[in-house]
C-alpha cells in the first residue's frame, strides 16, 4: 500500500513536471511567434536589381526607418535576371502606392545595407500582392568619390597654375625684384591696407585648411582627397610673401597678380564644390566636413573681396545675377534641360 502510494505520488509529480515543461515551451513559442510576426498576414513584392550582391535572405526591409518585412527569396532566373522576393507585413500595405521603389541604403560608412521601400505617389492606388517594383540605385560612397573626381582634377590643374604664378612672383632674381622704377606711381590708387589685410586673412584661412586636411588624412577618410588638397594650403601660403611686394610692383607684375587672384577665386569655387561633396562622403566626420566647408566658403569670400579691392577693381560676386564671363544667361541655379526624356 505504501509502495503503491509512493508510485502514485511519483506519477503525479512527473506528470506535473511534464505539464509545466510543455506549458513553458508552448508559452515561449507563442511569445516568439508573436514577436517575429510568424502568423501575421503578409504579402509579397518582387524587385529585379542588376545584381544580387548586398542582398541576403532574411535581410530587413524598412519603410520610413521601420522594419516591415524581410527578404524571403533570391533567385537567378533562366533569362539571367535576378529576382528578389520581399515578404512584407500586410498591415503596411496601405502605405505603399504606385510609383513605390526599392533601394539599398547604407546606414553608416560601415555596416550592412538595408533594403528600403519608398511610399510612391500617395494619390494613387495601393500596391497589389506580387507586384514587381523598380530598383533605384543609391549613390554609394564609391560612386560619390567617382563623382568628385572631375572637381578634384579641376582643382589640381588650377593648383599647378597657381604654383607657377606664385613662384614667378616670389623669384628674387625675377622681374618683381628688378623692376622697381615707377612702382609707387602705378600702385598709388590702390587700397594697399585692404589688400594686405585680405591676403593675411587668406593665409589664415589657408592655415586652417591645412589643419583640416591633415585631420582628414589622420582619419583615413577621403585619403586621396586629403593628399590632393594638401597642396592648396602650401600654395596659398606662398601668397603671403606677396604682401610685402605689392607696393613695389611693375605693371606687368600687377597684371600677373590680378590673374593670380582671379585663378585663386576660381580655385576656391572648385574647392567649394569638393567641400560640399565631402559633406556627403564623411558621415562619421560631419563636424569636420562642415568646418572644412565653412573654411572654403570663407576663402572664396575673401578672394572675392580681394578682387574687389584690387588695383583695377573687379566685379563682386554676382549671386543670382548673370555670370561674369561676358553676357551671362543667368540660370546657374536652375537644373539644365535634358536627361530623362525631357
Amino acid at each position: 500500500m505504501t509502495t503503491e502510494h509512493f508510485v502514485a505520488g511519483m506519477r503525479r509529480q512527473v506528470g506535473w513536471f511534464v505539464m509545466i515543461g510543455l506549458g513553458t515551451i508552448v508559452a515561449l513559442l507563442l511569445v516568439a511567434t508573436l514577436r517575429t510576426e510568424l502568423f501575421a498576414r503578409k504579402f509579397t513584392l518582387f524587385v529585379a536589381p542588376p545584381s544580387a550582391t548586398s542582398f541576403f535572405v532574411g535581410q530587413e526591409v524598412k519603410f520610413q526607418g521601420f522594419t516591415i518585412g524581410r527578404v524571403d527569396d533570391i533567385e537567378l532566373q533562366a533569362s539571367g535576371e535576378v529576382r528578389i522576393a520581399l515578404r512584407l507585413l500586410d498591415r503596411y500595405r496601405g502605405m505603399l502606392h504606385q510609383g513605390s521603389a526599392v533601394r539599398l541604403v547604407k546606414p553608416a560608412l560601415l555596416g550592412q545595407d538595408i533594403v528600403e521601400v519608398t511610399a510612391g505617389d500617395v494619390q494613387t492606388a495601393v500596391l497589389n500582392d506580387g507586384v514587381l517594383l523598380p530598383y533605384r540605385e543609391q549613390a554609394t560612397l564609391e560612386q560619390l568619390l567617382m563623382d568628385m573626381k572631375p572637381a578634384v582634377a579641376n582643382a589640381d590643374t588650377l593648383l599647378g597654375e597657381l604654383v607657377q604664378l606664385a613662384r614667378w612672383l616670389n623669384d628674387p632674381s625675377g622681374d618683381v625684384r628688378l623692376a622697381t622704377a615707377n612702382i609707387r606711381t602705378v600702385t598709388e590708387g590702390a587700397d594697399q591696407g585692404a589688400i594686405q589685410q585680405a591676403i593675411t586673412r587668406v593665409s589664415e584661412a589657408a592655415a586652417q585648411l591645412e589643419k583640416l586636411f591633415r585631420q582628414l588624412a589622420d582619419n583615413k577618410a577621403g585619403e586621396f582627397l586629403a593628399s590632393s588638397l594638401e597642396q592648396t594650403a602650401l600654395v596659398l601660403k606662398n601668397l603671403e610673401p606677396l604682401t610685402g611686394e605689392l607696393s613695389r610692383q611693375a605693371p606687368e607684375t600687377i597684371s600677373r597678380s590680378k590673374e593670380l587672384v582671379s585663378r585663386l577665386e576660381e580655385l576656391s569655387g572648385a574647392l567649394n564644390s569638393i567641400a560640399v561633396d565631402m559633406q556627403q562622403l564623411s558621415p562619421e566626420l560631419p563636424g569636420l566636413a562642415q568646418e572644412s566647408h565653412d573654411a572654403i566658403l570663407e576663402l572664396r569670400r575673401l578672394a572675392t573681396a580681394l578682387r574687389q579691392t584690387w588695383l583695377a577693381g573687379g566685379k563682386g560676386e554676382s549671386g543670382k545675377g548673370p555670370r561674369e564671363d561676358g553676357e551671362g544667361t543667368g540660370t546657374e541655379l536652375v537644373a539644365p534641360p535634358g536627361g530623362g526624356g525631357q
Binding site: G120, R136, S273, P322, T329, T331, A335, G338, G340
Partner: protein, 263 residues
C-alpha cells in the same frame, strides 16, 4: 539775418537727418549654402550624375527651408523634380513639381510656378488642355522657361508657338557656355521643326539651323546634344555616303556615352 541763416542751417540739418542711413549688406549663410548646393546639383546634372544631383538638390532644399527663402524653396522642389525625372522616378518628380507650384503660388513667384507647371505638363501627356495655357510665356521670364514652352509646343503640334519660343530663346541666350548651349538647343529644335515640315531631304533651312547648332556645340561641348544633332544630320542627309558617315558617328557617340558618363 542771423536768425534766417540759423533757420536755413536747421532746415538743412533736418533734411540731412532724414537721409536714410546706408543699408548694411547682410548675407544669410543658409541662403548662400542653399545656392552653393544647388550649383553643385546643377553641375552633377551636367555630368549626368542623377543620384548625386538628387542628394545635392535635397540638401539645397533643406538649406533654403532653413533660410526661409520661399523662392529658393520653390526652385529647390523644381530642381529636385528635374533630377528625379532624369533618374526615371516620374512619380516622385510629379510630387516635387506639384510641391514647387504650391510653394511658388504661396510666395507669389510666377517664374518658378510656370517653370514647374511646364515640367509637369511635359510629364503628363494626357492633360493636353491644362498644358495649353502654359505655352504663352511672358517675355520677361527666364530663358529656360521659353525653351520648355517651345518643347511643349512641339509635343502639342503647335508649330508657330514653338518657333516663337525658340526665337525668344535665341534672343535671350548669353555668350557664356550656358548661353551657347541654350542657343544650340533652340537651333536644334528649329532644325527638327523644319525637318518635320519638309522631310523630303535637302531642306536648306533645317541644315542652316543644324550647322549653327553643331558649331555652337563644338564650342561649348555637350555630347548628349551632339548625338541628337548628329542623328538629325543622318536623317537630313540625302547623299548615301555622307549619310553613312553621320550614322557611323552617331553610333560611335552612342557607344562612348553608354560606356562612360558624359563628363
Amino acid at each position: 539775418m542771423r536768425l534766417a541763416v540759423l533757420l536755413v542751417l536747421l532746415a538743412l540739418s533736418a533734411c540731412a537727418s532724414r537721409m536714410p542711413a546706408p543699408e548694411v549688406q547682410v548675407n544669410n549663410p543658409w541662403q548662400a549654402n542653399a545656392e552653393s548646393l544647388a550649383r553643385s546639383g546643377v553641375d552633377a546634372m551636367e555630368r549626368e550624375k542623377w543620384g548625386f544631383a538628387r542628394v545635392m538638390f535635397e540638401r539645397s532644399l533643406q538649406a533654403a527651408t532653413l533660410a526661409g527663402d520661399e523662392k529658393l524653396m520653390a526652385l529647390g522642389h523644381y530642381n529636385l523634380g528635374r533630377a528625379q525625372t532624369a533618374g526615371g522616378d516620374a512619380a516622385a518628380a510629379r510630387q516635387s513639381y506639384r510641391q514647387a507650384i504650391r510653394q511658388a503660388d504661396s510666395a507669389g513667384d510666377a517664374v518658378n510656378a510656370r517653370r514647374a507647371a511646364l515640367a509637369l505638363a511635359m510629364l503628363e501627356d494626357g492633360d493636353a488642355q491644362a498644358s495649353e495655357a502654359q505655352l504663352d510665356v511672358p517675355v520677361a521670364f527666364p530663358i529656360d522657361i521659353h525653351l520648355a514652352a517651345a518643347r511643349l509646343a512641339v509635343l502639342r503640334g503647335r508649330e508657330n508657338a514653338a518657333r516663337q519660343s525658340y526665337a525668344r530663346v535665341l534672343g535671350m541666350a548669353g555668350k557664356d557656355r550656358n548661353g551657347l548651349l541654350y542657343a544650340a538647343r533652340a537651333h536644334l529644335g528649329m532644325a527638327e521643326l523644319e525637318y518635320a515640315a519638309d522631310s523630303q531631304g535637302g531642306n536648306a533651312a533645317a541644315w542652316a539651323h543644324l550647322n549653327t547648332s553643331l558649331g555652337l556645340l563644338r564650342r561649348a561641348g555637350q555630347p548628349r546634344l551632339m548625338l541628337q544633332a548628329v542623328k538629325l544630320a543622318a536623317k537630313l542627309e540625302s547623299e548615301p555616303v555622307r549619310r553613312q558617315m553621320w550614322q557611323q558617328r552617331a553610333r560611335a557617340l552612342e557607344n562612348i556615352l553608354q560606356q562612360s558618363p558624359a563628363r
